[in-house]
C-alpha cells in the first residue's frame, strides 16, 4: 500500500511540475500550447540516452535535458510565436505531431516504438536514488524548486511583462516590451523545466517510449491547468493532484467494474471541465469569475 501511494506521489510531483510549467506560458503569457508533452519527452529521451550511454549523474542529465528542451523549443517556437491565439494552438498541434513522429521513427536514438529500457537510477554526489522513498524526496524537492523559480519569475518584472503581453500585445509593444523576445524566453523557460520533469520521469520509470508523450498527455496537462486555475501559482498543483487522485479514488468504488474505470474517468474529466467553465471559469484556485466585463 505504501509503495502504491509513493508511486502516485512521485507521478503527482512530475505532473505538477509539467502543469506548473505549462501554466507559466498558458496562464501568464497567454500561449496555449498543445505540444508540452513533446518537451517533456525531449527531456526524458535526453536523460535516458545520457544515462545509458554517457553518465548517470543526475545533475548532468537534468542540465542537458533542460538545455536541449529549451533550445529546441526556441527553434521550433520562434516561427510559431509569430502567429497569435488559435493559430498558435494549431501550430503547436503540428509540433506535437512532428515530435511524436520523431520519437517513434528515430530508432537509433529513441529506440523507436519500443523505446529505451534499463535506465539506471540516477546518482547525485555519489548517492544513488535506488529506493522509491528517496526518489519521492528528490521529486518533491524538484517540484518545490520549480514552484520557487516560477513564483520568482511571475511576481517580478518578467511576469508583469508576460501578463501585459497576454492582456494586450499591441499595448505592451507601445510601451516598449519586446514581445517576441519575452514570449520566446518564456517558452524556453517552460520547455526547459518540462525537460527537468522528463528527466525525473525517465529515471523513475527506468524506461521511456513514445506513449508517455502523446497528444493526450498534452491535453491532460492542459486540463490540470484549467481545472486548477489558469494564471494562478498553486492552481496547476491542485489540478494535478485532483487528476492524479481521481483514477486512484475510482478504483476504491466497489460498484464500478474495473473494465469500465477508464471510460468513467473520461466522463468525469469531461463533466468536471464543463461544470468548471460554467460555474468557476477561473478554476478551483482562480475564483468564481474570470472577469467582470470585457
Amino acid at each position: 500500500m505504501l509503495a502504491y501511494l509513493q508511486n502516485i506521489a512521485v507521478l503527482f510531483c512530475i505532473n505538477a511540475i509539467l502543469a506548473l510549467t505549462l501554466n507559466f506560458i498558458m496562464g501568464y503569457a497567454g500561449i496555449f500550447s498543445l505540444a508540452h508533452a513533446i518537451f517533456f519527452g525531449v527531456g526524458a529521451y535526453t536523460a535516458a540516452y545520457l544515462a545509458l550511454h554517457v553518465t548517470d549523474s543526475l545533475l548532468i542529465c537534468i542540465a542537458a535535458s533542460a538545455a536541449l528542451s529549451a533550445v529546441l523549443s526556441m527553434v521550433l517556437a520562434l516561427p510559431a510565436l509569430r502567429v497569435r491565439g488559435e493559430y498558435f494552438v494549431a501550430a503547436s498541434l503540428g509540433l506535437q505531431v512532428i515530435g511524436v513522429t520523431i520519437f517513434s521513427e528515430w530508432k537509433s536514438v529513441t529506440g523507436g516504438l519500443g523505446g529505451m529500457i534499463g535506465i539506471p537510477p540516477p546518482k547525485l554526489f555519489g548517492y544513488t536514488f535506488g529506493s522509491q522513498a528517496s526518489y519521492l524526496t528528490l521529486a518533491f524537492v524538484i517540484l518545490l524548486a520549480v514552484l520557487g523559480i516560477t513564483a520568482l519569475l511571475v511576481r517580478g518584472s518578467f511576469g508583469r511583462s508576460l501578463m501585459a503581453i497576454r492582456d494586450s500585445e499591441s499595448a505592451a509593444q507601445a510601451y516598449g516590451k519586446h514581445v517576441n523576445a519575452v514570449k520566446t524566453l518564456s517558452v524556453a523557460v517552460s520547455a526547459g523545466l518540462a525537460g527537468v520533469a522528463g528527466t525525473l520521469y525517465a529515471f523513475y520509470m527506468s524506461f521511456v517510449n513514445v506513449e508517455g508523450f502523446m497528444l493526450d498527455m498534452s491535453i491532460l496537462l492542459m486540463a490540470m491547468v484549467i481545472i486548477g486555475g489558469t494564471g494562478t501559482l498553486f492552481g496547476p498543483i491542485v489540478g494535478a493532484a485532483l487528476l492524479m487522485a481521481l483514477p486512484a479514488a475510482l478504483t476504491y468504488l466497489p460498484f464500478i467494474p474495473q473494465s469500465e474505470l477508464g471510460t468513467i474517468q473520461q466522463i468525469i474529466y469531461g463533466l468536471a471541465m464543463v461544470l468548471l467553465m460554467m460555474f468557476r471559469p477561473g478554476g478551483l484556485v482562480g475564483g468564481r469569475s474570470k472577469e467582470k466585463s470585457a
Binding site: 518584472s157 518578467f158 499595448a171 509593444q173 507601445a174 510601451y175 516590451k177
Partner: protein, 249 residues
C-alpha cells in the same frame, strides 16, 4: 524627462500615404509636431487620424512617405523600439492590461526590460505612488483594471503614459465619455504635463478639449490634411465645420 528646446520640431511627417487595398486611408500628409506644443487632430470618423498614430508608432507601415523623430527615420522600426525612443500612445479602446492590478499596469510600463533584477526599484515604487495620487487611483492600486469603473480606466490609461517618461504623447480620444468632474481633472493633468515639457498630440471629437487645450489644430478628412492652425481659425471655418458635422456639399 529631458526637455527639448521650445518649438524644436520633434516629429516630422512628410508626404505620408497609406493604402489598404484600394482604400487610401492617408493621402500625402505632411506635418510637424513641435516640442511643447499641444496639437489636436480633428476630423470626421474615418478621416485617418488613428491610422496616422498607428504609422507614427510603427503599428502600421506607411505605403510611402517618411516619419522622422529628432531627425531619425522611424520607417521600418518596430513599435517597441519607437516606444523606447520616447514616443508613447494611448488607444481609443484603452487596451489596459486587464487582469493586472492598477499598480502593476503602471509598474510594468516603467520597467524598460524584463530582467529579474531591476535597478532603481525604490525610485519606481515612489514614482508609481506619485502617479496613483495624481490620477486619483491611489485607493484602487490593488484592483484589477478590468474591475475599474469607466472613468477610472481612462485615468489608468493616462497613468500608464505618465509612467512611460515619453517626450511625445499620442492620445487617442482620451476624454471621451468622461463626466464633467473627471473631465476637468483630466484636462488639468494634461495641462500640467504639457507645462512640464511633454509634447502632446490628441485625437479628439470633444470640442471642449480642442478649445481648452490646443495650441494648434490639424483638420483631417478622408485621409487628407485639409488645414492646420489655431483652434479659432479651424473651428470657425464654415467649410471645415460643414465637413465635421457631415454637411459636406
Amino acid at each position: 524627462m529631458s526637455q527639448a528646446a521650445p518649438h524644436q520640431v520633434l516629429l516630422e511627417i512628410r508626404n505620408l500615404n497609406k493604402n489598404f487595398g484600394g482604400l487610401q486611408a492617408i493621402s500625402d500628409v505632411s506635418m510637424d509636431l513641435p516640442a511643447g506644443v499641444i496639437t489636436t487632430l480633428v476630423g470626421p470618423n474615418g478621416a485617418g487620424k488613428t491610422t496616422l498614430f498607428n504609422m507614427i508608432t510603427g503599428h502600421l507601415v506607411p505605403t510611402s512617405g517618411t516619419v522622422h523623430w529628432l531627425g531619425q527615420s522611424l520607417n521600418g522600426i518596430e513599435p517597441w523600439k519607437i516606444a523606447r525612443m520616447g514616443i508613447a500612445r494611448t488607444f481609443q479602446d484603452l487596451r489596459l492590461f486587464s487582469h493586472m492590478t492598477v499598480e502593476e499596469n503602471i509598474m510594468t510600463v516603467m520597467e524598460r526590460n524584463s530582467w529579474l533584477w531591476q535597478t532603481g526599484a525604490d525610485a519606481v515604487r515612489k514614482r508609481v505612488d506619485e502617479i496613483l495620487e495624481e490620477t486619483g487611483l491611489a485607493d484602487k492600486r490593488t484592483e484589477r483594471a478590468v474591475d475599474l469603473a469607466y472613468a477610472e480606466r481612462k485615468f489608468l490609461s493616462l497613468a500608464r503614459i505618465m509612467a512611460s517618461k515619453a517626450k511625445l504623447w499620442l492620445l487617442d480620444e482620451p476624454a471621451s465619455g468622461l463626466d464633467p468632474r473627471s473631465f476637468d481633472r483630466f484636462v488639468a493633468l494634461l495641462r500640467e504635463y504639457a507645462a512640464k515639457g511633454v509634447t502632446i498630440c490628441i485625437i479628439e471629437h470633444n470640442l471642449d478639449i480642442v478649445i481648452q487645450l490646443s495650441d494648434r489644430v490639424a483638420f483631417l478628412d478622408q485621409g487628407k490634411l485639409l488645414a492646420q492652425g489655431s483652434s479659432d481659425d479651424i473651428l470657425k471655418d464654415p467649410h471645415l465645420a460643414a465637413i465635421y458635422f457631415g454637411e459636406r456639399s
